[in-house]
């Protein structure tokens, strides 16, 4: 009976598993395999096995390492700032008695917009001479800001746009965690005369720890893969100030047509993201327990 049930279960799962195998597993295996060959779209073929040559080339390439470094800075900046803003907003919303759904709706609006539209919209808003932001700054006597034309400023502009777009994701997850916290420790702390900061520091943060870890990890995984905003807003420039790794790999594949190298870089990125996903999984299990 149990065997029949198991077989039936497999039969029901088979279409989904086959589909996943075709659209997820096959491309990953294919990319892994291709990364060991000198495979270009100009002359596609598996005639030239190069072993770890593509990996060695990527690891020794200054431009690729620079992109990895910029990506790390970007991830740290967006995740850290989004976490701080997200936590403050979530705490405020958690205490809100009325109009919570209205706040939710407003907060979720940016998240519902396609990243390409976000990029185009902000490019127009931040246009140095025709954009509304510099015009508003001009009305109070502030000189036009070179939002995307100076390397440091362009990096922070992209970070800010990403924060605007994604911060509500952080708010929603953290708020869900806060809503689920037990009320008893807070009542006890109040009786003991704990201040609001003490309650936050000694009760909220420790209780929220697993939720915070999950939230940070999910957001970091998304941030590493950021591509659309860079493609629309800066194309990696000015210079190489915003040349994030996903956009770098895309160019290696579709401009240079060098799939062997692009696959090797993509596999390296996949390993990093897979490691973070493993940590995420462990953290989620802790939350469950």
């Amino acid at each position: 009976m149990e065997r029949r049930d198991r077989r039936f279960g497999w039969m029901l799962s088979a279409p989904g598993l086959l589909l996943l195998g075709a659209v997820v597993l096959f491309p990953i295996v294919w990319a892994g395999l291709t990364s060991f060959f000198d495979y270009t779209l100009l002359m596609p073929g598996y005639d030239s096995f190069v072993g770890i040559g593509n990996y060695r080339m990527a690891a020794g390439q200054g431009e690729f390492l620079h992109s990895a470094w910029i990506t790390l800075l970007f991830v740290v900046a967006v995740v850290a700032i989004q976490f701080v803003i997200g936590m403050v907003v979530a705490l405020a919303l958690n205490d809100a008695r009325r109009g919570k759904s209205v706040y939710y709706l407003i907060l979720l609006c940016p998240l519902l917009i396609n990243p390409v539209v976000v990029g185009l919209m902000w490019r127009m808003i931040l246009h140095p001479t025709l954009g509304i932001v510099n015009w508003l700054l001009g009305t109070v006597g502030i000189a036009p800001v070179n939002w995307l034309g100076a390397p440091d400023m362009a990096f922070w502009t992209v970070v800010l746009v990403d924060i605007w777009h994604q911060v509500s994701f952080m708010v929603v997850l953290l708020l869900a965690g806060l809503s689920a916290l037990p009320t008893e420790p807070y009542e006890a702390a109040r009786c003991d005369g704990a201040t609001a900061f003490q309650r936050f520091w000694h009760i909220t943060l420790p209780l929220m720890r697993p939720v915070i870890i999950v939230t940070l990890l999910i957001r970091m995984i998304f941030a590493i893969k950021t591509y659309d905003i860079i493609y629309i807003m800066t194309r990696g420039g000015p210079g190489v100030a915003t040349d994030l790794i996903s956009y770098f790999i895309y160019r290696r594949a579709f401009v240079s047509l060098d799939l062997g190298q692009a696959c090797a870089m993509a596999v390296m990125l996949l390993v990093v993201i897979a490691g973070m996903t493993a940590m995420l999984w462990r953290a989620m299990r802790q939350v469950g327990e």
């Binding site: 939002w147 995307l148 034309g149 493609y231 420039g237 579709f254 047509l257």
Partner: protein, 425 residues
């Protein structure tokens, strides 16, 4: 896509003969010249019974969408349009079908094309793979109203001792850029976004300073003194005489600055000339003109050439229908009608047509611009070279490298790409 065989249900039910309808797909860029083709398509479909589906996308998506279709044995696109800097790559990969037999069989006359167009998007190594579609040679858009303004003329004469007029040399243009940077107007607006906007625009500066990209043995020469002077001039224009943020402008943003009357000049694609006169998108309609980018001396031009060509891919599901379309769209009549709608011609007979000149008096200036324009290096790795050049120029503009360092780095990579392409013999 295979030619569709449409069998109307009624005819099938009655056992009557099947009606065959062919359809071809073509991927095209969202530019004015594509719109003109779109408007004329019903005539082709009516005359031949071939349905044409134009898939119109932004430039940035085109290469990405084309390559997977070209690599496969049977792709979706019956005909394609090829930007000049993909030509070497497509040729080396064997993605385009030779057209010579079809041209000969149908007596199609290719001698009417501007020779530089055939060099750029027509023939490769003596074989015809494409028919030139439209040109986008770059020119200098400048404000005629500012040149004609009496106060400006007087001030210029006092300052320079000569008449204020459209610039004949680069030095004269450079002085005008400095002169017009005043009263909330910028002397110039640039398109400094990497990779292709900045690489294409700076190429004009290189030619205008008497520089070249390479010598006959495919060694880079653009890091010469002329090249360095060209890059310094480019940086000065962005930093001193242009609007804040020009280092990140694409061509549409730069054009908006010019068309809103905020800049005296803009080196750009010639198809923007028609847009300047469109009051719905320009506040300087009737107050701007285009000319070839002035060179080091009055006789030498500094413009960069550019063009698209029609081709039939090796993976074309219906090359015969595609050729029917190419013959039609590049026929004298349709080429002329496209030009009358505002298109950028590639055929000499269209440039010289009295009706076209009467409709667009700037046609003669555009022909001169095209005849004096310089070509960008086209080889298998042109897209990569544009990427490298764009990156290094952008680094120099951002102040992260000196002009010499940036150009030396780009030259080194150019030499390596040329070597890899077997250009060194």
């Amino acid at each position: 896509m295979r030619p569709h065989i449409l069998i109307p249900f009624g005819a099938f039910a009655m056992g009557a003969g099947a009606v065959q309808a062919q359809s071809i797909n073509i991927l095209m860029e969202a530019v004015p010249d594509t719109t003109y083709v779109q408007e004329l398509l019903p005539e082709f479909e009516e005359a031949t019974g071939i349905d044409v589906n134009l898939e119109v996308v932004n430039y940035a998506e085109m290469h990405t969408k084309l390559v997977p279709q070209l690599v496969s044995n049977s792709g979706s696109y019956s005909a394609i349009v090829v930007d000049f800097y993909w030509v070497g790559e497509f040729y080396r990969a064997g993605w385009m079908q030779p057209l010579d037999d079809r041209i000969e069989a149908d007596g199609f006359d290719t001698s009417v094309y501007v020779p530089a167009m055939m060099d750029l998007v027509g023939e490769v190594e003596g074989t015809t793979y494409m028919l030139p579609f439209y040109n986008y040679a770059m020119g200098l858009l400048y404000r005629t109203d500012l040149l004609e303004d009496e106060a400006n003329r007087t001030a210029w004469k006092e300052e320079h001792g000569s008449e204020l007029r459209p610039p004949e040399t680069w030095d004269e243009y450079r002085d005008q850029v400095a002169f017009f940077t005043k009263d909330g107007i910028y002397g110039v607006v640039n398109q400094g976004l990497r990779p292709d906007p900045i690489a294409m625009e700076w190429s004009n500066y290189l030619f205008a300073h008497g520089g070249t990209f390479m010598d006959e043995t495919w060694h880079a020469t653009f890091n010469s003194d002329e090249g360095v002077a060209a890059l310094k001039a480019y940086i000065a224009n962005i930093d001193q005489y242009g609007p804040v943020g020009a280092a990140s402008f694409s061509f549409d943003e730069a054009f908006n600055v010019f068309s809103q009357g905020q800049a005296y000049s803009y080196i750009t694609y010639n198809f923007f000339r028609a847009a300047v006169d469109d009051p719905s998108q320009s506040s300087v309609a009737g107050a701007a003109e285009i000319m070839g980018v002035p060179g080091p001396t009055p006789g030498e031009g500094g413009s960069l050439n550019g063009a698209w060509g029609w081709a039939i891919p090796r993976s074309s599901p219906d090359p015969d229908a595609a050729w029917e379309f190419l013959k039609w769209v590049e026929s004298p009549e349709i080429a002329k009608r496209r030009a009358l709608m505002g298109g950028s011609p590639t055929r000499l007979d269209v440039f010289d047509d009295a009706e076209v000149i009467a409709e667009y008096p700037q046609t003669e200036a555009l022909k001169e611009l095209l005849l004096g324009a310089h070509n960008f290096p086209t080889f298998t790795y042109t897209p990569q070279f544009v990427e490298v050049l764009g990156r290094e120029l952008s680094l120099a503009v951002a102040g992260e490298k000196s002009a010499r360092e940036a150009l030396d780095a780009a030259a080194e990579e150019f030499d390596a790409l040329a070597e890899r392409d077997g250009r060194r013999g």
